[in-house]
Amino acid sequence: MTPMLTLGVSEYALPASVLAPYLFVSAAMFAIGLIGFLTRKNLIIMFLCTELMFQAAGLALIAFGRHHLGEDGQTFVIFVLCVAAAEAAMALALVVLLFRRRETLSAEAWKELKG
């Protein structure tokens, strides 16, 4: 087990043993974000967890992009970043509105679609 202190090595493809842990971390972060979304009641924290899921996706994208030796992964992540920013702006605006309505940030205040 040789510790690799390599930086900037983008000229060759990653072996599977190197790629796998990145993907595992990405999956773990995604799952953690998902669990957070499902279990927390605070609207803002819920959105934060969605951002965490974005992060995980971005990591997977970069890892696979590196695996396939193009820049497409990184380009994609830039756009994901873009969209995440836009979405965060909208989401927070909506959260503020919702908070004004009910004076609470709890997601349980909004159950009117109950069937």
Binding site: S17, L23, A31, I35, F79, V96
Partner: protein, 334 residues
């Protein structure tokens, strides 16, 4: 997938992780949070050890990802777990920033420097700050003593057990899919010096940069520059490592061969990323811009305060607004 991680390890990790996380999720007066954390930590550690062990075997074809990766991964995962298990929202946001920075580290390890910096600047510097602003704006009213100062909204997680189980089941499935997908993907065997792989080829489209590097390396004079082609690029052959130089005044050309190749001449991540972005995805940039514009406008519109005016006040307001405009001449289009 069996060569990358043993299924038993994966399933054990899922079980342990689910158990740990369900204990760690916030509850009022729960003393089991540390135990949950320990369980989680041990689960992740187990997986890390497994990966490292597998990496050392010659079957997997190479070494592991390295010490820094494990460091950054541990920080990222630990911080993300704290994001979801911390009762106070501000702390959650701050832990999230830590997660971002750790992710950045991992991006750098993967050779995506620009994206790493972009992540820090945009995500940590802009989006998370916005989150913090909103958290401050929309705080729940505290309800009493120290531990009870938190509202139920934050202090109690809903359905921690089921949520953890669901999440870790999905985790297991996704892992299997992802790790299984590695074997079937094509590249992975390109070594340094493989003839088919030329990362520097993009420099053919960046003659100005090549000029600068060559000038700094004193390989060309002030009057010389790389021979331009029809499309605006330079005659630059990365495979054969030749550059054709022309004299701007004399019009002659010469070739810089492989033996004179400067060491610094390589396309960095920034060059390649920029070229990819502008050359292959120009429209997407435009669309991304529009999306951002819409988001900005939308946020402005949504977060307006609606003020109820009486009718007389509304009429006055309307008059004032229309009075500020120069009256158009009657009938004609202005």
């Amino acid at each position: 997938m069996e060569t990358l991680i043993s299924p038993i390890i994966l399933y054990t990790f899922c079980v342990l992780g689910a158990a740990g996380l369900s204990l760690a999720l916030p509850r009022r007066g729960s003393k089991l949070v540390p135990i949950g954390m320990i369980l989680l930590g041990s689960a992740f550690a187990m997986v890390a050890v497994s990966f490292a062990w597998r990496a050392s075997e010659p079957l997997t074809g190479g070494a592991g990802p390295g010490l820094f990766f494990y460091l950054f991964a541990a920080i990222a995962l630990g911080a993300s777990i704290r994001v979801i298990t911390h009762p106070r929202p501000v702390y959650s946001a701050l832990y999230f920033i830590m997660t971002i920075i750790a992710s950045c580290g991992m991006y750098v390890l993967l050779g995506a420097e620009f994206v790493a910096f972009a992540l820090v600047i945009i995500y940590a510097g802009a989006i998370l700050i916005t989150y913090l602003f909103v958290i401050m704006l929309a705080t729940q009213a505290p309800t009493g003593t120290e531990d009870d100062m938190l509202d139920d909204t934050d202090a109690v997680a809903r359905e921690p057990v089921v949520g953890s189980i669901v999440g870790f089941v999905l985790m297991g499935l996704i892992s299997i899919m992802l790790l299984g997908g590695i074997e079937t993907g094509k590249p992975g065997s390109i070594k340094p010096g493989d003839p088919g792989f030329q990362p520097d080829a993009v420099l053919a489209s960046l003659p100005v940069k090549v000029d600068k590097v060559l000038r700094r390396a004193n390989l060309i004079d002030a009057d010389e520059r790389v021979l331009r082609t029809e499309g605006g690029g330079g005659v630059f052959d990365a495979a054969a490592r030749t550059i054709t130089i022309e004299h701007t005044e004399l019009g002659t050309t010469r070739v810089i061969g492989a033996d004179n190749w400067p060491e610094e001449l390589s396309a960095g991540n920034l060059d390649r990323l920029g070229w990819n972005l502008l050359h292959d995805h120009p429209m997407t940039i435009e669309i991304a811009g529009i999306i951002l514009l819409m988001a900005m406008l939308g946020a402005t519109v949504l977060a307006r305060k609606h003020v109820e005016l009486e009718d007389s006040l509304k009429a006055e307001q309307a008059k004032r607004l229309s009075g500020a405009q120069p009256r158009p001449s009657g009938g004609g289009a202005s």
